[in-house]
């Protein structure tokens, strides 16, 4: 019966850890029952195990339906999400730059140091704009194909 256990373990080795142990336990149990039944019908233990293993099928057979189900849940980030990201970054950086310029002019009007952090902060919306444009051209290419 150890062969059955090893076979089941090996079949489901790539399954998500949370589900794996439970699946292995129940499937091993059911397959063992089957082997016992087959032995009763007159097969030797080796033949019975071979038959059970051959007829079992594959992991794909086990997960065929549940995989479809999980795919539905996954959501993709659409272009409008990226547009919202861009809007958020523009407003956010405008506020920060505003505060920096204000402190600069209020406390040290002689030195214009606020230009340097402002340039740094500008990279935030720039990076988002870059990804948005990339996504757009990707989409266009897909449409053209």
């Amino acid at each position: 019966m150890k062969r059955i256990k090893n076979f089941v373990k090996n079949t489901f080795k790539d399954v998500d850890k949370v589900k794996r142990d439970e699946i292995i336990l129940t499937v091993t149990e059911s397959l063992t029952e089957k082997v016992e039944d087959l032995i009763e019908t007159g097969l030797t233990e080796k033949e019975a195990i071979d038959k059970a293993v051959i007829e079992f099928g594959t992991v794909e057979d086990y997960f065929n339906e549940s995989i479809k189900f999980e795919k539905k849940i996954k959501r993709y980030k659409t272009l409008s999400h990226y547009r919202n990201d861009l809007l958020f970054s523009v407003v956010g950086s405008a506020i920060i730059i505003g505060i920096v310029i204000y402190t600069n002019l209020y406390f040290t009007p002689d030195i214009l140091w606020s230009v340097i952090p402002a340039i740094g902060i500008l990279y935030w919306p720039l990076a988002i704009l870059y990804t948005l444009l990339n996504k757009r051209s990707n989409k266009k290419e897909k449409k053209d194909e």
């Binding site: 129940t26 499937v27 089957k34 059970a52 057979d61 086990y62 065929n64």
Partner: protein, 109 residues
């Protein structure tokens, strides 16, 4: 041999029906399916166990450990009230589907 893609959506109800008839264990179910269809369709163990596991999780069936005549232990499955109701509902759906397909495919214009 019927392709398993076509029958897949209806396997749940088939298994529920077999369990409603009497309490059964895993291999008995697959045996029943093979015998009753004259080996036109046999269910892969992998598919069977995943469906049975799902039905149990949805509390449509329950399992208990029972004994076989020869002393070996068997995990038997039993239908619940909830499962019976679900079966009736699915059975109605099946009758509808059958009549729809019948009118579309069989009847002459």
């Amino acid at each position: 041999m019927i392709s398993s893609d076509i029958i897949r959506g209806h396997l749940e109800i088939v298994i529920l029906k077999l369990i409603i008839e009497e309490d059964r264990y895993g291999y008995e179910i697959s045996n029943c399916i093979t015998n009753r269809t004259n080996e036109l369709f046999n269910i892969k163990e992998a598919t069977l166990y995943s469906i049975v596991g799902r039905l149990e999780k949805k509390e449509l069936i329950e399992s208990y450990i029972g004994k076989k005549t020869h002393g070996g232990k068997r995990r038997y499955y039993k239908i619940t009230r909830f499962g019976k109701a679900y079966y009736e509902e699915k059975l109605n759906e099946w009758h509808e589907l059958k009549s729809v397909l019948n009118t579309l495919l069989e009847e002459k214009v």
